[in-house]
């Protein structure tokens, strides 16, 4: 009875999460949904007399693999949503038809089989003294070659990831000496003036007034200035507004 309740709760949760994985537009939500599916499958393994696999599922999948997915999502850009343009015409429709047909095929094939009551793993594990011991007995005797090959595969995969992710520097990293020389050879040996007209505004997007009363567009942060211009948040003083616009123009010319 307990198993039936667990199964139905987790089956609904995992199928809903799998549908969410396919349907949600944002990649981070997809990763979250996949985590839910993996977690509920771990509980289903535990219910089906596979405690070792349940632990491995949590550690390897929800622990390592999901973290890897999230790291790569951070690298590649969280906001990379799917385009809704179909490259092949009608691909989405036919993919869903194929998926439904495939699910129906599998379900009918399974439904045609009448299973007897599960044998249960009590007999198989009791002769070794437990699930973990039984699996160890199989891995380190009958399947020891597959085990060794798997270890070789893991090392190859780690090396491959390092080789693929490694990037050669196109030119040597600039030293402190190079940086100092470039700074003194450039137009501004001193630090740029800080933003904000302190008597009236201390906001970061306000250009500074120089001692002679002129406005310095060098003091404006280019990125903040671009947002200010795009969203129309320019100051009322025309000289300050002009300096912000100029900072944006300088940035666009330098591109």
């Amino acid at each position: 009875m307990g198993e039936t309740i667990t199964f139905w709760v987790l089956a609904v949760v995992s199928v809903a999460a799998a549908l969410g994985l396919v349907l949600s537009r944002k990649a981070v939500y997809c990763a979250l949904m996949l985590g839910v599916v993996m977690g509920s499958l771990a509980v289903l393994y535990a219910v089906q007399e596979a405690p070792f696999l349940a632990a491995v599922q949590i550690i390897v999948y929800t622990g390592a693999v999901m973290m890897l997915f999230l790291f790569v999502l951070m690298l590649v850009g969280v906001d990379s949503t799917d385009s809704l343009v179909e490259t092949i015409k009608g691909q989405r429709f036919w993919a869903i038809v194929a998926g439904l047909g495939f699910a129906a095929l599998l379900a009918l094939a399974i439904g045609n089989v009448a299973f007897v009551r599960p044998t249960g793993l009590g007999g198989a594990t009791s002769q070794y003294g437990g699930n973990v011991q039984g699996l160890a007995q199989l891995i380190f005797t009958r399947h020891v070659f597959a085990f060794e090959v798997a270890s070789a595969l893991l090392i190859t995969a780690a090396l491959a990831a390092m080789v693929l992710a490694h990037r050669e520097r196109a030119k040597a990293k600039p030293t402190q000496k190079d940086l100092a020389r470039a700074r003194f050879a450039g137009p501004h040996p001193t630090p740029l003036p800080g933003p904000g007209v302190y008597a009236r505004h201390n906001a970061n997007d306000m250009p500074a007034l120089l001692p002679d009363g002129t406005v310095s567009e060098l003091s404006v942060n280019r990125i903040i200035a671009r947002h200010d211009v795009q969203e129309g948040r320019l100051p009322e003083d025309p000289r300050l507004a002009e300096a912000i616009r100029q900072a944006v123009e300088v940035e666009e010319e330098s591109k």
């Binding site: 039936t4 199964f7 995992s14 199928v15 799998a18 994985l21 396919v22 997809c30 996949l34 993996m38 499958l41 289903l44 089906q48 007399e49 596979a50 070792f52 696999l53 491995v56 999948y61 693999v65 890897l68 997915f69 790569v72 999502l73 690298l75 590649v76 850009g77 990379s80 799917d82 385009s83 691909q91 993919a95 194929a98 998926g99 439904l100 699910a103 599998l106 379900a107 399974i110 299973f115 599960p118 044998t119 249960g120 793993l121 007999g123 039984g134 699996l135 199989l138 891995i139 399947h143 597959a146 798997a150 595969l153 893991l154 995969a157 491959a160 990831a161 693929l164 992710a165 990037r167």
Partner: protein, 98 residues
Amino acid sequence: MTTHYLVLSALLFAIGAVGVLVRRNAIVIFMCVELMLNACNLAFVTFARQHGNLDGQLIAFFVMVVAAAEVVVGLAIIVTIFRTRRSASVDDANLLKY
């Protein structure tokens, strides 16, 4: 109960297959492949219990090992492609070179 587990496994596998066919983001496609592997593991574990034999759990264990290796290499490939193309969409990566 065995039938229930197998139908759940088939459903998850089919949903994963549809995801691979429908989605355009390479990382999401990869997640759908992982979902299909997980569905297969569920079937393996169910059959191990049905037949009273630990071999099914052993195969599921090896599937996890290979899947972990596959994820590492696949994600490294995606990162490399993203560096050259600035995109993780499979539509943009339709040429192996250039």
